[in-house]
């Protein structure tokens, strides 16, 4: 009885809002396609999307969950141990094992997304409606026109209407009514989607040969509108793409900076050629991994914030390793760059092997927190990923911190004094040995922070540091040894330069060209972008 009432109610609802033909349950013919071949399954999904009734949604969500199947030409839904007829919802007497479940692949998933969007066009939440309209704009086919027109008629929100109009315009470009096509061609000028541009330029082509050539679009008026729209779209695309490349360069630059900033202190300021710098990055990344593991097992509710908690951990772990390295090895080798180069190279091998023995040779899995996943879409095709935006900000934050430390604290003053003139600093009472240790610890800690940042975009494995050591030295040497500001300019400059080159020549050639550029630059200007000025420049 209840079910009958429900169906009656459903009937009225569908009559009232959707004006679909009256029926008691889902028309079995609508979903019969699921029992057929691949093409008929796609058609069935689209038909369900246009239908839009609650029963259609039920069938579709069963398909999405992997619960829709076929038993001898009959489409059924499984739910635990129960099997129901998909159209009527009646329970069937058969075992779940008899059901041949429909497996999803990308093509089917795309159709489902479009069908779901067709449902969501009538959702109560404007955000959901907007998302649905956007999906429709990308994927809608002609079969979806009725659903789109119904939605447009009911839609009040201006922003959603615009998107819906685009979606319809895309379909209407092929309409036989000239006025409709003209309106569509004009409306599409507001888009910044290259796909729309292609649709429009297809109108400006001719078919046939010689005298028989015919414009694809017969009306000159529509063609003019299409041309104007294409120009508008092209302008928007080129601006968005340049902005996208600039951002990629900025992002690469910020990563180079984070990798090189610690080195700018230990090599640039203290003069230690630290070949184990890359491994300090690795230690920072592994510390981040450990923090993530602790959060996973003990604080799963706060897992999204493990990156924040990892900041001090990564810093102090790497700093601690730095202190041990300095105390045990490097302090005996100050002023002997070749020996310290060899010794730190040995240390780097020891650290890599230690990580390999402790954590295994496999790369570790570090997930981006949800607030660092995805990106903001600047324009169609240009997305700025959140993790990169956050890292650019993080690099700026670390830079400011280091600058404040070097310029505004007593320790920073000591470090500067010792690096400028060690005996004199010692004479006036600066504990030079302790300052060395502290400076090395800070440089190492900053490398740890670099590792934390890298863990969010690159591989975390025992040998990850090896990939960055050359880049880091490149930045420091290019920027000018002894200069933090130089490192900043060199990192950003190299990043943006490399990205523009890459877009033009490809990744392999770009890498070679960057190296060639640096060799030439260093030949012409061995002191780097910024030279140390004054009495100590030559010492």
């Amino acid at each position: 009885m209840n079910r009958l009432l429900m169906r009656l109610a459903l009937l009225f609802v569908s009559l009232a809002c959707l004006a679909v033909p009256a029926r008691a349950a889902l028309d079995p013919a609508l979903i019969a396609g699921f029992a057929g071949d691949f093409g008929s399954r796609v058609a069935a999904i689209e038909a369900l999307g246009v239908d839009g009734s609650a029963d259609a949604r039920r069938v579709l969500s069963a398909l999405e969950a992997g619960n829709l199947g076929v038993v001898s030409e009959r489409v059924v839904i499984t739910d635990g141990d129960e099997v129901m007829d998909a159209a009527s919802g009646d329970k069937l007497e058969m075992a779940v094992t008899e059901v041949d479940t429909i497996t999803l692949n990308n093509r089917l998933r795309r159709s489902i997304a479009t069908a779901n969007a067709a449902f969501a066009l009538f959702s109560a939440s404007p955000a959901e409606r907007l998302a649905a309209a956007t999906t429709m704009r990308e994927n809608a086919t002609e079969t979806m026109t009725p659903a789109l027109e119904r939605a447009l008629a009911a839609e009040q929100d201006e922003a959603i209407r615009t998107v819906l109009e685009y979606a319809l315009a895309k379909i209407n470009l092929g309409s036989s009514d000239t006025a409709k096509r003209l309106k569509a061609a004009e409306a599409l000028g507001g888009s910044s989607d290259p796909a729309v541009k292609n649709m429009l330029s297809a109108l400006l082509e001719k078919t046939g040969e010689g005298k028989n050539a015919m414009w694809v679009e017969s009306s000159a008026e529509v063609r003019a509108a299409a041309e104007a729209s294409i120009r508008a779209i092209e302008r928007r695309i080129s601006i968005a793409q340049t902005a996208g490349t600039m951002f990629s360069g900025l992002s690469l630059g910020s990563i180079l900076l984070l990798a090189a900033l610690g080195l700018a202190i230990t090599y640039g300021v203290m003069g230690v050629i630290n070949m184990a710098h890359g491994e300090l990055l690795m230690i920072g990344a592994y510390a981040t991994f450990l923090v993530q593991s602790v959060f996973r097992s003990h604080l799963p509710a706060y897992l999204d914030w493990y990156v924040i908690a990892a900041i001090p951990v990564a810093f102090f772990t790497a700093a601690l390793v730095g202190v041990v390295m300095e105390r045990l090895v490097l302090r005996h080798l100050y002023g002997r760059p070749l020996e310290s180069l060899l010794a730190t190279w040995g240390l780097s091998l020891i650290l890599i092997q230690a990580a390999r023995v402790t954590f295994g040779p496999q790369n570790l899995e570090l997930a981006n927190p949800s607030w660092m996943s995805g990106g903001i879409e600047l324009a169609a095709g240009v997305v700025l990923p959140w993790n990169r935006i956050v890292i650019v900000g993080f690099a700026a934050f670390v830079l400011v911190l280091i600058w404040l430390m070097m310029q505004k604290t007593r320790l920073g003053m000591f470090v500067r004094a010792v690096t400028q003139n060690r005996p004199m600093a010692g004479c006036v009472g600066v504990p030079t040995a302790r300052v060395d240790t502290m400076a090395f610890a800070i440089g190492s800690g900053v490398a740890g922070l670099g590792g934390l940042a890298l863990s969010q975009i690159a591989n975390v494995g025992p040998a990850m540091g090896q990939g960055y050591i050359v880049d880091a030295f490149m930045v420091v040497v290019l920027g000018g040894v002894g200069q933090l500001a130089g490192a900043v300019w060199a990192a950003l400059g190299l990043g943006i330069f490399a990205k523009f080159l890459e877009g033009w020549a490809g990744a392999v050639i770009a890498k070679i060209l960057v190296l060639v550029f640096i060799i030439i630059f260093i030949q012409k200007r061995p002191q780097g972008i910024f030279a140390v000025k004054g009495r100590f420049a030559d010492s």
Binding site: N106, R110, N368, G381, G467
Partner: protein, 418 residues
């Protein structure tokens, strides 16, 4: 602990034998030595360590069942450290110093090409377990991985089909070395036979270990938005795949819009990636861990138990993958051939191995081809799931015979046999 101690003892023993330079002598009479040549350090350690493990497991399994011809197998493990010159050196050491009867090893095509002359010169045997670009057929090498027509070509056929999304434009993306370049040459020729023009193919390469895929992803997006349905074919090798897939996920390039099919990404490689944004991307292999059949269940259970017993790091989350299955099959094929030939003599084993069959974890009975040193293998296309495993969405009806000399490269018609 016991095993580790005995391992150290064995190590000390073999070291002292080597140091004295004494002949293996009586020791050799009751065992057959087999070499395992996989990188356990360096960039390829990620992939090859698991192959060393599965080889040791298989040898243990064979020994537990009585060995080969009543003799136990004695594995000799060396580490060529991802360096091509060391591969050649270690291979020579295995053959002339340790006197192994056969070697199971190599991953990259570069390492295989480095050891080929050694095996030819010493007339020893190499079983190579990884999919590769073809264009090679050595008398002393058996290829238990896929040739291009057993992986790459079926994958493209799938993408071109309605089921695979009827792709009309292709991005061929790879690491810059011999395998991707040759594969893409074959694929480009294949696509042309399907009516795809050069304008609809974009080819791009990155250096080994490349980690910044922003520009390439932006280019793919641009290429994909110029009309027609686009698919990406990735021959990116090694750990560059992690940043590539991360960038892909963050740039919002979904599998439903632009599917990426990869030839070097399996269960093991995805362990280092958060796979949630990658659901629906594809991989083509001859085996997936998710394949359901009794042989595979037993294979996975055996490997998990072995990993736990031998203290493999993260032993509770170990996975099996295609090259591991190929290693497992390769060792068994060799054992069967030795038993048929009743000797480990290279030429007699080569003569005996053609036509050998083995019921593999892929659920099919694989046959070693009588002439071309490759296995007849089934092809599966899998879609990445949220847990890093693959759902098989398409497969061939049965095993496919390998074509090491691709018909899509000019001049190959004449070279079919050895």
């Amino acid at each position: 602990m016991q095993t580790r101690r005995s391992f150290i003892k064995a190590l000390a023993l073999s070291a002292s034998i080597a140091a004295i330079g004494a002949p293996i002598g009586a020791h050799a009479a009751d065992t057959i030595k087999v070499g395992i040549l996989h990188s356990l350090s360096g960039t390829m350690a990620i992939s090859e360590t698991a192959l060393k493990n599965v080889a040791l497991m298989t040898i243990e399994e064979i020994n537990a069942k009585g060995g080969v011809m009543g003799k136990k197998l004695e594995p000799v493990v060396v580490d060529p450290a991802s360096s091509e010159s060391l591969f050649a050196e270690r291979a020579r050491q295995l053959i002339s110093q340790d006197k192994v009867a056969v070697v199971f090893g190599c991953w990259t095509s570069a390492s295989r090409k480095a050891v080929n002359p050694v095996f030819k010169e010493t007339n020893n045997l190499l079983f190579y377990p990884v999919q590769y670009e073809g264009e090679e057929l050595e008398k002393n090498v058996f290829y238990t991985g896929a040739a291009p027509n057993q992986q790459a070509i079926p994958a493209l056929e799938y993408l071109l089909s309605e089921e695979g999304g009827s792709a009309k434009r292709f991005v061929l993306l790879g690491t810059d070395y011999v395998y991707p370049r040759t594969t893409n040459k074959i694929l480009r020729a294949f696509l042309k036979t399907k009516g795809i023009t050069d304008a609809d193919i974009m080819e791009d390469y990155t250096p080994f270990g490349h980690s910044d895929y922003q520009t390439i992803i932006a280019n793919i997006k641009k290429f994909a938005s110029e009309g027609k349905k686009t698919a990406v074919v990735s021959t990116i090798n090694g750990d560059s795949n992690v940043p590539f897939y991360k960038e892909l996920g963050n740039a919002g390039l979904k599998a439903t819009d632009v599917p990426v099919v990869a030839f070097s990404v399996g269960e093991e490689e995805l362990r280092g990636v958060d796979t949630k944004p990658l659901v629906g991307h594809l991989a083509a292999w001859n085996y997936f861990m998710t394949i359901k059949n009794p042989e595979n269940d037993a294979f996975i259970a055996k490997y998990k138990a072995w990993a736990k017993k031998n203290g493999v790091p993260n032993a509770d989350s170990v996975v099996t993958n295609d090259p591991m299955e190929a290693t497992y099959v390769g060792i068994h094929m060799w054992k069967q051939a030795v038993e048929k030939a009743k000797t480990t003599d290279t030429d007699k084993v080569i003569a005996a191995i053609g036509g050998q069959t083995f019921k593999s974890p892929s659920g099919f009975t694989l046959t070693m081809d009588k002439t071309n040193h490759h296995l007849h293998k089934p092809v599966f296309i899998g879609e990445v799931r949220a847990d890093g495993q693959f759902d098989v969405v398409w497969k061939t009806k049965g095993p496919v015979r390998a074509q090491p000399w691709s018909p899509f490269i000019a001049g190959n018609e004449a070279k079919q046999g050895l």
